[in-house]
């Protein structure tokens, strides 16, 4: 006999009609839910997310179907759990489609049956295995929610309802199959390796009872499927649709680039004050969140117990959108309550102040940990900065400490109260002069490298030591370089991240205008914030330059032998741990060059902090936070400094002036300044290198 089975075995005419008839209700509900979401997204501003479609499709398949962004080293348990649930469910769904094709298309229309023989046996094997995958995945999810209870996971009714529904669907499938096998007991029944032992048990029961239980369970399974489908669009189960759409239509521009407000002088609304001020893609972003909490795992505000939790901010916007959308147009599972399942009760609320509080907006360090770890590319930082822009530009509301920063930027072109004429004062402490671009251009001298010093490197006394060390390294290596001197201006990064887009644009345009006057091969900077702005934000305003971070250039100079490190150097003996600056690591993916530099230091061991590379905890200084008071929760810089101290290292290697400032304070704050120090990698290298005779001064400063 050829292995196969009768589809719709033991199902009467009522069932045969019912299975199609009952499709109508869940399809109406599903279509309504999806259409209402798209209807809401369309309320947003236009944004082109339909370019590079082939790349988008490949990326979306890699990151979702193949789980490229879901199974990660930093969240392996959750990733494997999701893989099992997803593939278990998808395989069972494909199995259902195969049966439909056989029963409703190929046999009645073509008279052709493929659901038999080896195909059938393989099908049974795979379907039974898929059921196990699904059940194991669901049990792992239950274990995580109820036993492991990680801080970033908050269980909502919807989470458990869905898991229970998935489990029930799989169990029902085994039972229905078991009852049929108990009556028919095919020769090939053992291929259904889970249902078969159940069938052996059922076989001992009267056939009539088996048939009756089969019918009852078949109906129950069919109705459960329809309930599941109907519930689909109002639960987080919608995420295969919203998340895939979000990943497909993800940002393709560099992560570190914040969009400009075009024609800012003419814009009717500055920043985001209402739901309609977000772009449609941002609204879709908020709907794609399935509250997995990965954005929280490495978020400095979550770790230090501040009001801002990126996941909740996204869900609050999403819930607000659902409220505005009216009838249960949202997701059932918003944290503790059924907020998104309510009638439209919130249109009167203001977005800022009513839905999102100001402390939430101002706590963000824009470190990008949330975006880096979100499996579906939700962009939290642009949402936050959008609302900050409105607060700053339209409402004139921002932390008082920032007022001086804005004033100084306007008057002095830097966040500090130093006149531009003092920008190059640090050069007076060098043994050899540093030429300025204007002089070199006037004398017709070619310049290979433009050293963009940055505001902290120019004016802040601690960071000047880094600047001096780097300048001496460049001089020792014979690099042909020059600085802008008093012509250098802030790139606008702090103003942009704080939300003063108007000022940020002025600063950026001024800097590009200055840079474009000169000819050079590349720019080097010790500031990842300047690096990010020059690399990612200047091109769209006509500033196209090759820019490297000083860690990259130093690494290159060591590699090429232009800098020789002294194996007998007494400056560095001991262990160093390296902190990844967010704007170098997460935003620009440079993790290796600084490590390579540290590892090349003679007599120095390197130890990693538990949170490193893309999981590194922010120093707390980005997003303008360095200029603001930190009044809520624990101090981020102290938390990170303590992590560094706990490694047992004696030195923390920094590669960013913002991090330097934050850690100087952080180490003092935890009372470890006599046993632990922070140094920039340029200082570490300069202290350890073989110096030319005129630089025999010892330490970097």
């Amino acid at each position: 006999m050829t292995p196969t089975r009768e589809i719709m075995w033991n199902v009467g005419l009522d069932g045969q009609i019912g299975v199609y008839l009952f499709l109508a209700i869940p399809f109406v509900l599903l279509a309504f839910g999806v259409a209402r979401r798209v209807w809401m997204w369309r309320k947003g501003q236009p944004e082109n997310r339909f370019d590079q479609m082939s790349n988008r499709i490949i990326g979306a398949l890699r990151d979702t179907v193949a789980h490229g962004r879901i199974v990660r080293k930093s969240s392996l348990y959750g990733g494997i759990m999701h893989f099992l649930i997803f593939w278990g469910f998808v395989l069972l769904f494909i199995g259902t489609i195969i049966v439909l094709i056989e029963h409703d298309i190929t046999v009645p229309l073509l008279g052709y049956s493929f659901y038999q023989g080896n195909f059938y046996l393989g099908y049974k094997l795979v379907m039974n295995a898929a059921g196990i995958m699904l059940i194991v995945g669901v049990l792992m999810a239950f274990y995580r929610r109820y036993a492991m209870q990680p801080d970033h996971i908050k269980t909502a009714p919807d989470d458990i309802i869905l898991l229970a529904l998935l489990l029930v669907l799989a169990v029902q499938g085994y039972l229905v199959q078991g009852f049929r096998l108990a009556v028919e007991m095919d020769e090939w029944a053992a291929w259904s390796f889970v249902s078969y032992p159940l069938a052996i048990l059922f076989q001992e029961l009267p056939e009539g009872l088996n048939r009756g239980l089969h019918t009852a369970n078949w109906w129950s399974h069919m109705l459960t499927t329809k309930i599941f489908l109907g519930y689909f669009a109002y639960s987080k189960m919608i995420h295969p649709f919203t998340s895939f759409a979000n990943v497909l239509l993800r940002r393709t521009r560099p992560l570190g680039k914040l969009e400009r407000i075009e024609d800012i002088e003419e814009a009717e609304t500055l920043g985001v004050a209402r739901l309609e001020d977000f772009t449609w893609a941002q609204l879709m972003n908020t709907d794609a969140c399935m509250h997995c909490g990965r954005c929280l795992e490495f978020c400095p505000t979550f770790v230090t117990n501040k009001p801002l939790r990126p996941r909740d901010l996204v869900l609050q916007v999403s819930g607000y959108m659902a409220d505005k959308g009216g009838v249960f147009s949202g997701e059932l599972g918003q944290a503790d309550n059924f907020a998104r399942f309510r009638h439209g009760s919130g249109p009167e609320r203001e977005l800022i102040g009513g839905v999102i509080s100001q402390p939430e907006l101002w706590d963000c360090t824009t470190c990008g940990a949330c975006m880096e770890h979100c499996p579906v590319y939700i962009e939290h930082v642009p949402l936050i900065v959008g609302m900050r822009r409105n607060l700053v530009l339209e409402q004139g509301e921002f932390p008082a400490e920032v007022t001086n920063v804005f004033n100084n930027l306007e008057r002095m072109s830097s966040p500090y109260q130093f006149p531009p004429s003092q920008r190059a004062d640090w050069t007076k402490r060098l043994e050899q002069p540093v030429p300025e671009m204007a002089e070199q251009a006037a004398s017709g001298t070619d310049v290979e490298v433009l050293f963009f010093v940055g505001c902290l490197g120019s004016f802040d006394s601690r960071n000047q030591r880094t600047t001096l060390a780097l300048a001496r390294i460049l001089q020792a290596a014979g690099v042909n370089f020059a600085i802008l001197g008093k012509e250098e201006t802030c790139t606008g990064d702090p103003a942009k991240r704080i939300g003063n887009e108007y000022l940020a644009q002025i600063m950026a345009e001024q800097t590009v205008e200055t840079l474009n006057q000169y000819s050079f091969k590349k720019i080097v900077t010790a500031c990842p914030h300047c690096f990010n702005a020059i690399a990612n934000e200047f091109p769209e305003i006509g500033g196209n330059y090759e820019v490297v971070h000083h860690s990259q250039l130093i690494n290159e100079l060591i590699g090429s032998g232009k800098i020789r490190l002294d194996p007998n150097s007494e400056m560095m003996k001991g262990t160093v741990t390296y902190h990844d600056p967010c704007y170098l690591g997460r935003y620009n993916k440079e993790y290796d060059a600084p490590r390579s530099v540290v590892q090349s230091l003679p007599g120095t061991g390197m130890v990693e902090m538990p949170r490193n590379r893309n999981t590194a905890l922010c120093c707390g200084g980005g997003g303008g936070r360095m200029f603001m008071e930190e009044t809520r929760g624990a101090r981020i810089n102290q938390t990170r400094a303590q992590e560094a101290i706990d490694t047992g290292a004696q030195t923390l290697a920094a590669a960013c002036p913002f991090c330097m400032t934050m850690f100087e304070d952080g180490i003092n704050g935890v009372g470890a300044d006599d046993v632990f120090e922070v140094k920039d990698i340029a200082e570490l290298v300069y202290d350890s290198m073989v110096k030319p005779p005129d630089q025999e001064t010892g330490a970097a400063d």
């Binding site: 109508a24 259409a35 009714p157 503790d336 009638h343």
Partner: protein, 165 residues
């Protein structure tokens, strides 16, 4: 040729006409399937299912794409939430729980010629499935009940969609 958006715009503008049209489509699909099954015409299943799907998806999309109307259905669902959850739970898990319990009857009445090893594996599977079903469904049921209590229309407005996470 009119763009899809234009056609959709017209359809939504004439929702009063379009919606009954969609529902008529669903009814037609049901009729096709019913007649086909009675007459034993296999081909009508896919045709009827397609017609039902198109009609119901169009109806849902049409309502979803229109401006929100007075949310009476949500009030209704919220008011009857507990009863709905209880009934659905019974439909979903009642038959399977009976089946899993009855499975143990097979062990008791099992004949001498039954394969004991396989039966024991069957019992093990049945116990496992029964256990995990009871635990998961009980958790979901209690959470749904609690969630529904919190989402009652008269209380929901006060929470403003904020939560304690």
């Amino acid at each position: 040729m009119a763009s899809l958006a234009t056609i959709w715009g017209r359809a939504t503008a004439n929702r009063k006409v379009s919606l009954p049209g969609c529902l008529a489509f669903v009814a037609l699909g049901v009729l096709i399937i019913a007649v086909g099954e009675v007459q034993d015409w296999g081909w009508t299943r896919i045709v009827g299912a397609t017609v039902i799907s198109i009609g119901s998806i169009a109806a849902g999309a049409l309502i979803g794409w229109s401006d929100p109307v007075r949310p009476r259905i949500t009030y209704l669902i919220s008011s009857w939430g507990k009863a709905i959850v209880a009934i659905l739970t019974l439909i979903i898990v009642g038959p399977m729980l009976i089946a899993l319990v009855v499975a143990f009857g097979g062990l008791i009445v099992g004949g001498a010629e039954a394969d004991t090893g396989l039966m024991l594996i069957g019992v093990l599977i049945a116990v496992l499935l029964l256990g995990i079903t009871l635990v998961t469904v009980a958790s979901a049921f209690s959470l749904a009940m609690r969630g529904l209590w919190r989402s009652r229309p008269d209380e929901a407005g006060e929470t403003n969609g904020r939560h304690s996470a």
